[in-house]
Subunit: 282 residues, 2 copies
DNA sequence: AATTAAATGAAGGATTCCCTTCATTTGGAA
DNA sequence: TTCCAAATGAAGGGAATCCTTCATTTAATT
């Protein structure tokens, strides 16, 4: 089993193969990912040989049959995909100090943030927020820190941002919402019932709902218009919101990019106010 | 990218599915890569439903059959894989993607967190907090998110934790402080005057002060007994607190390690309370 | 409680696919 | 050229898999 990759295996045995088998080996080597899903007949067609020759290559490479070779290729594809997420996080699980483990796990989560599907959703969220006349932000318990942070950062670059504090009565703030408003909810396990009910109300009234949550099908993920996810590493169980904060930062950065002039104007206004009120120690 | 991802498709139709189909959809959504190679029977086995239900899900999602759904999943896996290799090889130095820039910067900060010698300071903070009879936490404006997070996490593993809310009158809470108490302040530029005054008061009364700040000689850093720093990368100027959250996580993890039995006892107590109050949606 | 509709699972047919066997072709040596 | 061995492809058996049909169970409504 040998950690040798399939590619290596082909290279090692290549010289011993027959002409037809070399054709197949070459094709597999150059199109391994696509070949992972093809049948022996299809592979033979692509390599301009018969199905039988493909099967014979399997034996020549040391497999019990084509099925076994295909399984090997498929698992290789899976590993390649999860190489980042699992291999680097499993090893330091026990042997190194706890701090390093936490940090490496966190880096892992950050990398997952900028996968393609996520990035598209983030841009959608950015556009929606830029167009919105108001932004209402909610998040309780564990999620409140992220909600507050988002509220704080968003307030620094635009106006009409409201945070639903866990203690305050947020129902009153709903009366101001229009069809152009956006509600952003943060919801992570263990999901707060308050947040879920709030989200359901928003969805029922056809107001745009952006959910920042741990998976697409979480209670609020199911009903939201836009869903941004940060996978909590189930292994550790330690659900940190550091990656959520970074996700928020991405949204803020996106708004910065797309709405520069308004952002700058708003910040200047705030600067003036802060200095006159002497809030900060310079 | 005209192709809606399979994940999105599942989410859109999820509410219309039957109970058994939801099981399958959930399983697929959470193990999509591995499922790409499994048969309908195997998927049904994993999702605890029959093979038939898996096939019916295919129809419910709009496919011509299970085979077509499987092909879609497989092609999605291929695309994801291509995206990864392109991203990492094509643009190694030019970060045209603003999101990637933010994330890489954040990873940089995280690594500095454990490379630096302030690991010792973290352990000191851990020991101090474990011994303390009370922990008072303060942080305003930008730092409040981190303060709240720390307060929330610390409350989940020990008692007598108090957060100085920005609106509340925290002066009253000072009357309870003893010589065995600890005050943790979060202070990042631009430094809030309220926080600084609070810290000065604590220092004058010989109560242990832990500062989480951006440099040793920041306003609160100068007067604190223990100083934990997270360098804000001056280049970007975007002062995120994601690394501060991670720093907090390190402290929490440290307490976990050194004070296990008390932590577990406290969490069990909380669990009981939460379930009886029905706070969370399981 | 009774009825009905939907959902689920079991079983069998139909298809696809892998694998083996056998015939044909290719290439090289006597 | 003739012979032989290796290689290749075609065809059929057998296994796995998908799909449909039918009976049972579940859930909801009257």
């Amino acid at each position: 089993m040998e950690n040798v990759s399939f590619q290596q295996l082909v290279r090692n045995k290549f010289s011993d193969l027959s002409a037809g088998q070399k054709k197949v080996a070459k094709y597999l080597s150059e199109n391994l990912n696509q070949a992972a899903f093809k049948t022996a007949f299809q592979i033979g067609r692509q390599a301009a040989v018969s199905e039988t020759t493909v099967i014979r290559l399997s034996y020549a490479l040391g497999f019990e049959g084509f099925s076994e070779m295909q399984t090997t290729i498929q698992q290789g594809l899976l590993q390649e995909n999860q190489a980042d997420s699992e291999n680097s996080s499993r090893l330091p699980f026990r042997n190194s100090d706890p701090f390093k483990r936490v940090i490496l796990n966190e880096i892992q989560l950050l990398k997952q943030l900028i996968n393609r599907s996520n990035v598209e959703e983030i841009w959608k969220a950015v556009d929606t927020i830029i167009k919105a006349d108001q932004v209402l932000i909610a998040g309780h318990m564990l999620s409140h820190a992220a909600a507050y942070w988002f509220s704080y950062m968003l307030s620094s670059i635009r106006d009409h941002v409201t945070l639903c504090s866990p203690t305050g009565e947020f129902l009153e703030k709903f009366s101001n919402l229009t069809k152009d408003s956006v509600v952003v909810v943060f919801s992570f396990p263990r999901y707060s019932n308050d947040t879920i009910k709030l989200a359901e109300y928003v969805a029922e009234n056809d107001i745009c709902l952006i959910a920042v949550t741990d998976r697409l099908l979480s209670p609020v993920g199911r009903i939201a218009n836009i869903v941004l996810t940060t996978e909590e590493n189930a292994q550790t169980g330690s659900n940190s919101i550091a990656s959520v904060i970074s996700l928020v930062d991405l949204i803020i950065e996106g708004i910065h990019e797309k709405d520069q002039e308004r952002v700058q104007k708003h910040q200047q206004k705030l600067d003036k106010m802060y200095t006159s009120l002497n809030v900060f120690n310079e």
